[in-house]
Symmetry: C2
Amino acid sequence: MVATMKRVNMRALADSIGVDRATISRALSTDKAHLVAPATRDLIRAAAAAAGYRADLMAATLRRGRSDTVGILVSDMMNEVLVRVMREIVTDLNRDQTRGQELTPLIAETGDGSGHIGHFLRTFLSRRVDAIICLSATEDDAEALQAAAREVPVVLAVRSISAIDLPSATCDDGAGGALVARHFLAHHHRVVCQIQGPQTATTFRNRAAGFSVVCREAGVRELSIGTSARAAISSEGRAVAEAILATPDRPTAVFAHNDSMALGFIEAMRHQGLAYPDDIAIVGFNNTELSRVLARPMSTVEYPVAKVSGHAADLVRALIKNREFSWESKSFDPQLVDRGTGVKRPA
Amino acid sequence: MVATMKRVNMRALADSIGVDRATISRALSTDKAHLVAPATRDLIRAAAAAAGYRADLMAATLRRGRSDTVGILVSDMMNEVLVRVMREIVTDLNRDQTRGQELTPLIAETGDGSGHIGHFLRTFLSRRVDAIICLSATEDDAEALQAAAREVPVVLAVRSISAIDLPSATCDDGAGGALVARHFLAHHHRVVCQIQGPQTATTFRNRAAGFSVVCREAGVRELSIGTSARAAISSEGRAVAEAILATPDRPTAVFAHNDSMALGFIEAMRHQGLAYPDDIAIVGFNNTELSRVLARPMSTVEYPVAKVSGHAADLVRALIKNREFSWESKSFDPQLVDRGTGVKRPA
DNA sequence: CGGATGATGTCAATCGATTGCATTCGATCC
DNA sequence: GGATCGAATGCAATCGATTGACATCATCCG
């Protein structure tokens, strides 16, 4: 037998105190509480607490036309960077702002296959979210996002897309690639190579381009041997790594577009009896836990999680307050975390 | 300038087709569509699609008293097991059931500090979730969960709590510990040791107990040297590991309560010039990515993610359909993934 | 042919909170 | 003392969809 308690609604509470529902609504709100006499307000608040009254936010949303809710789309909840950004956006949105404006997140994992996004966007809109944040959008999603943006503000984070112009907060991946290239330069590497992520993602294209430009300008030789992995995961990284190690003309330093693929490279090295990191220098990307907990921690590029999520949250808040807000997309510089795996082996 | 489109509501749609809102509501529903003449139904559906009509689920929820929404509490979105369970629960809840009953998840990350749970539960209840799933509840949360359970079904997953009797889906951690102990036995280890997670969590207490019982019965000597980590993370695991390695009387096999702590142990071994896994056998728990991508993959215990999440989803669905459903808590056996790091070094 | 039956639809109440407007009442001002 | 003002509160419409009760109409049966 389950003890089902019927919830108290505003009407019941009103009857029990002998005061109008309107007064209760005002007394319990943040912005209209000043319209109620202090004595009444305290009385109401006490009674509400005693009765265990809890406002029905669905009803409130219906009347207000605003739900204090933000939809968050994330492609993969196992992706450390995405999760960290998402988590920071969420805490940021809940941070007690000027006025107790709390924004509850609605999170949906879309999976990487494209085309699903439309479904989740529709669900969000049906639930009357005040805004939508899309982490890791792909170009395929442009149309669906565009449509959603006609109804509520849509903010992109981590990955922006070129087809449409939406407010975004991203990492300057080109700068990240350049950072690694210059690191290799500083350590006198003359023959380098990349393990690229799938080039369908702008993220990886930018990392690749940023790296290559610096190499070209400095006259460093960049090998291009089967450099693009089919997916940004360690097994694919290992496949690329094996192709690289199979060439007679080995690079002295390798830039992996993320830490997982870097790990694949390390495995491949070990498998071939090469010593990590002494025989071939390697630098990853993202500063994931993986890179830190390796027996020998790996140099990597730190993703500007706090800045990206902070800007995304700012955009959302500003746009909710004012749809016409003249927003600015921002891209933040990543930083190299030098753990020494990028140095050149003394000849 | 933002192109703000006003949404079409049911009234507008009704006026445009010249049919009552009630008919539209029925035509678009799954369960009452049969009450509408096929011709009218098709007409309405076509018109709705053409007008881009999307039902306001807040209004529907208000009227129905049911939101088709499930609140999910998760303590840490970086925890691989929790995320995997959560993800499977979500896809399971959305699986097109008997009748297109889709349950949208509301996800909240609670963080490990206790006491916050009440806040999230209240938010969920205010948003009128039909049920709540709590992953990784702690004993401190008992009261808050109990209160919530008076209003909607509450299901525990991954971690159940002893203070109250709620439907739950868990892993049989005692069996997991025993599994590892027997594995060590089979490989003729006679002196073993555990790196335990914080004993405030039943999960770890059960793993510890299951392991110890088997050891005791088999007459295997279990060392107890500073065996409990303050947190189930690699750095803490390493601290415990160092204490273990510092004793003159070393175990030949170590059971770490999760893979992170096992990794800490491996680091400590390397630091002391010991070869992993030859010098001391080690087995972890959870079969996380970490354990698989190690240069030398580690034996570990596979968490029955699919079974736990499947049962949790079943419980939720059944209880939403019928509050009085006579539920059954279930605990599922984990499995040993033998990658050879638990064998005894040939003397 | 009258009335029962069933298939389709319409009407209007309802869910619970919010808010513009009206009302009340005491205080203040001329 | 009557008008005016402002503070505090009540009244009632509203948000958008759902659903029980009822109306309409064709059909069918005895």
